[in-house]
Assembly symmetry: D2
């Protein structure tokens, strides 16, 4: 096991979060050693140099193509606007690098599948940044499901709703431009699909409605949806709804999930990310939803803190995510959600968009979905 | 204004609740006088006599046809299983009685419309028992919407989920028989559609999925859906989802609503029926959802209690509902939801069933929907 | 068992609530028959006549002394300002009436004890209106404690805090005058002591602090405390705090309780009166506070509604309270909290006041506390 | 500004948390540069070497006296059991080091004051690890108070209750031994006093009750209190209660606070550390407690994440705390809570213990409390 060297592209919100995680992961999870923060690429050489200094990287470059080709880089970490994920990931894989990429993986499912196939072909480890699925309390939920605590799952309701564009006077930026962002609310907030992939399974058919509530913003026309929702049918027989919105006043990180099965139910709300609500049906004690606070009985929490109820934060989830990447590279070779799993999520979002266009139910095309890690399906 | 005389058919859960309301309404809301509990009909003469004694009715009968024809009856109050609503309401209207009927109004939208037309023709006041819409905190929500506190509504998510049939070993009874109940979870829990009708408007198109999770129960096959959910498009441009379930472990009266508009959001949960959550978007004070506790600034609460936060219960909602009926008979002649409004709700549920059958979007047929009271549309 | 005849004195907030309960109790709890609303007394004959008509009483009087002497009255029900409780209850007992009195029983513990002794001497049933202790979910809490679910109780924290005088510009009325109200926040909100009496036991020593936050109001000087809190030691070894306030902005009916024992904990909040939070310590399932919603497994809930989670309201608690009174008169002869139990509560509040005056711990004087019903001590 | 070099003593729960913070603080708050993790001391040389490797320290030693004397150390960071704080801090100050020490500062208020005086004398910056007071939402609460949003504070209720010793079969370890820990629940959970010091002011008199619920544990007798509570009077006129417990089943980090003033109220619960509840009294909009989610309008949150509602965790609070230390050393020379402020907290806990011993109210001795940073008093 040699020290892995990270090349980071982009130093905005996500880039900085990745950098913080890279500096902490070796301390929190020492099993795989601390990665080296080798080189940082940004839009120009000056900014890259500044950011490399600020974020603790050894070297910097204004040219990401240089980074992906750098022999001193083992992992290419892509934290750029959505439309750049595909060319950067492709180039990195072609250089045989492991790739860690923010979501969504690409702007089209074809691109995602191409990347998944390429990663498989080159034997590269890949991981896409669906960080909320790394919450130890989601792991606990997955374990409860795997142990049968919910029985057979028959319904799931998920949301990822926020209000960052609820004010119509707010400029949309690149997120409202189709060429740069692809989908709108769904593309940005497709985290909910990573939770259902982990906990429930794969959607096989969807029927969706999309709406652009504000067609004009101060910086121009809005080219993708402000809100959407969909009906889903899952491979295991469960049905469900999901909803994504960037115009839902009051919701700051409204990633919520309620799963019902033949023996019980689970609820989760990312705004209270250290809590899980669990109801076990049946006789005996008085019944009610139990509020479970995250504690050190969950190993990925214990790595941060030995005392229960002290609380993890958003940035901690990225540390766990990076640990998963290092573990896959150093060990199993399998991460989740890798490019194959992310391509399956992209196939779902593509099917939803197609459903809105066609005005009816659409099957999710899972053909040729590329290599994929094992998902913890219920 | 003469004293109104009530004839009650049925003395189960709902019949008893109506009887309690009839005895209280004159004290709580003295404006329209106390109705007389004149006669009670039940399945046979003996049971009717027992129930009349227990529930404080002057007379009893084992034959509901006698009751609807009784000259001493002004209001026929129907609290029987669903399949009897139509023939009883029809007979009562034909005798020129005002009719107060539990939901759903009928087993088919055609029947509902026929009843609505008949009521209009005969000049009878009608009211259907969508009691949750009578909660003063829903009235407050309606007022906030009418005052523009939410701006233009663009999304609503509603649920009415319970767990009374979550245990597959539990017998289904008449509720799982199509001939007796009509629809399953949707028919029983269509209250959510009365809330959206009051607060958001009328759905114009729907796309639904239905599922019978348990096809067999100890008392025979299950003939209608255990759970369903749907996408909706409303006349005012808003979109939304609704979900009904009788197999959602842990939810006892999970009638919930989240409404988002251009200026703010509202949330409601019937399990905490004295609370409303309101978020006002914009600048100024630190922002957050405000938990508003029902208090005497709402007149329909003040009628019960002059102190805030003391809490109304389920039975109190029926008292308000009965007040609405008396008010309409004594005054405006208009109640909500009358048979016309209930027929519009039935048109929505029928469209949902049709959508599931056809596998796609279905327009809600609002043709010939009969007379209707004014709904407080946002 | 003959029909019991009620004479009600006072028709304000509480008088009206009692009248509503008297009209409902026979329907909800038919075991003891419906009491007759015989006569209502108010400050003058005209108002009494109006209120008797409004509240469904047969007769009326402007002179309460006439009512307590009336041969057609079995139960005297006292809903007047605090300082009138003692003379009215005394007169009623001297006429051999059963007495139902709002809290606090009297302005001094000596008066309370005198009344308790008199009631015992005359063999009258008495009941004091600590309605929150009648909540079926408090009964459930008591049963859990009796079954040992909490083990040995070692701590209790109780509050009853409201904000009805939080605004210093609001007039204080009779509640801020010592001669009319006695104690201030503690006298008005001593309900918390009825909950601890029922669930935990009797305090044996207290140490309290009182504060009049606003010494002047628009209608004159304030003569009793706006807020108080105290340390308590209970007979069973538990310790606890209680807090009462009428100046706690935002709290409308902040009657809360948290009880911890060797095996578990319970939490209750009257603002969410249909919920109980229960934590069972130990191994096994993931642990957490369980939110238990009131349902028909509790008989006093089932009497109102057969479906769980539908919710009781404040007025329903008074119906249960009146049922307890009728049951004691018709059956056991024992009610709780009778005048003896209420005198013990008054002994606690008196000890708290003495503690503030003396600046230290004070033993609760339980000498001669009169007859008392059994309390459900943990 | 030169790079500050840290010497850490102890590598248990707190030592590891400090190490993580030391590695992150320069990235999150770049203003003061990243400190160097210079040397780590532990109970013996081997363990120290292992931990230094694990936690990213350059050097190690088995002798803390060597560390405090090390010329390459600017800051001595003490994360050992309580009884070692005093000798280590004293030695460090005598070597002119800045000192960062976990709470409680010492086992007696005399020791704390001696340390505070020594720090003042030597001109050293000191900081005690009351990390919860560093939560940006507590800063927001302090700002709201400073801006007058609560008006004049009249009441505070605080708890810090946990259940780590609720199971009587659990060994007590050093925390239950007076010579090693000093006070029990109060000593361990005195965080609540740092919150009141920051937000409300200094207690001037206290009256407390202590209880050792379980006098024997598997590893021997318990020598300090399992639970305690107290009445307090604050310098500004407010009164309040605090409660600490290590035997409160179900509470994992029950550090809660409710503050009421003449214009509004605030509530906080560390188990939901990213939320603040705020009630503004008065007219206008419907009133209610507003749930404010931490967001980037608070600079100390923005340093971690630019998006609202994403949540900080426990470890993040230590990063902010360390930033405060670096800022004081590099800039103002003033930190809070420094040894002077911590000695004032220790004076309060000492007064509480004295109150329990004497059985009555005790004035807090603030004589000679040493130098102190400014607290954000309301």
């Amino acid at each position: 096991m040699h020290t892995l060297r990270l090349g980071l592209i982009g130093s905005g919100f996500m880039g900085r979060t990745h950098a913080l995680a890279a500096h902490s992961v070796g301390l929190v999870f020492p099993q795989y050693g601390a990665p080296t923060c080798e080189i940082l690429a940004d839009t120009d050489a000056a900014q890259a140099a500044d950011q490399a200094a600020a974020l603790g990287f050894r070297r910097s470059t204004g040219d990401w193509r240089e980074l992906v080709a750098d022999a001193q880089v083992d992992i290419v970490d892509i934290c750029t606007p959505n439309h750049l994920h595909y060319p950067m990931a492709k180039a990195a894989l072609e250089h045989g690098k492991h790739v860690y990429c923010e979501k969504p993986l690409a702007l089209s499912v074809d691109e995602s599948r191409e990347l998944a196939a390429l990663a498989k072909d080159r034997g590269c480890v890949t991981l896409v940044g669906f960080n909320y699925a790394k919450n130890p309390i989601i792991t606990m939920a997955g374990n409860l499901i795997a142990q049968g605590a919910l029985g057979r799952i028959h319904h799931v309701r998920g949301t990822h709703i926020e209000d960052y564009l609820a004010d119509p006077k707010r400029p949309g930026g690149w997120r409202t431009r189709q060429a740069l962002a692809g989908l709108g609310a769904l593309g940005d907030l497709c985290h909910i699909l990573s939770l259902t992939q982990r906990l429930v399974g794969e959607p096989v058919a969807v029927c969706a409605d999309f709406q652009t509530v504000y067609r004009e913003r101060p910086d121009g026309p809005v080219e993708n949806e402000d809100q959407m929702h969909a009906l889903l049918r899952f491979d295991g027989g469960a049905i469900g709804t999901i909803e994504c919105s960037r115009v839902a006043w009051g919701r700051k990180n409204g990633l919520t999930l309620e799963i019902s099965g033949s023996k019980g139910s689970l609820c989760f709300d990312q705004e209270r990310q250290n809590e899980l609500y669990f109801y076990r049906g049946g006789e005996g004690d008085p019944q009610g939803f139990k509020r479970i606070l995250l504690g050190p009985d969950q190993p990925d929490y214990a790595a941060f803190c030995p005392a229960p109820g002290h609380g993890l934060g958003f940035n901690d989830l990225k540390v766990i995510e990076m640990r998963d990447l290092l573990e896959a590279i150093n060990g199993s070779g399998q991460s989740w959600p890798d490019f194959g799993a992310a391509a399956r999520i992209d196939a779902v979002t593509a099917a939803m968009a197609a459903s809105f266009d066609s005005g009816g139910w659409v099957s999710v095309n899972t053909t040729n979905a590329g290599c994929s890690g094992t998902s913890n399906q219920g």
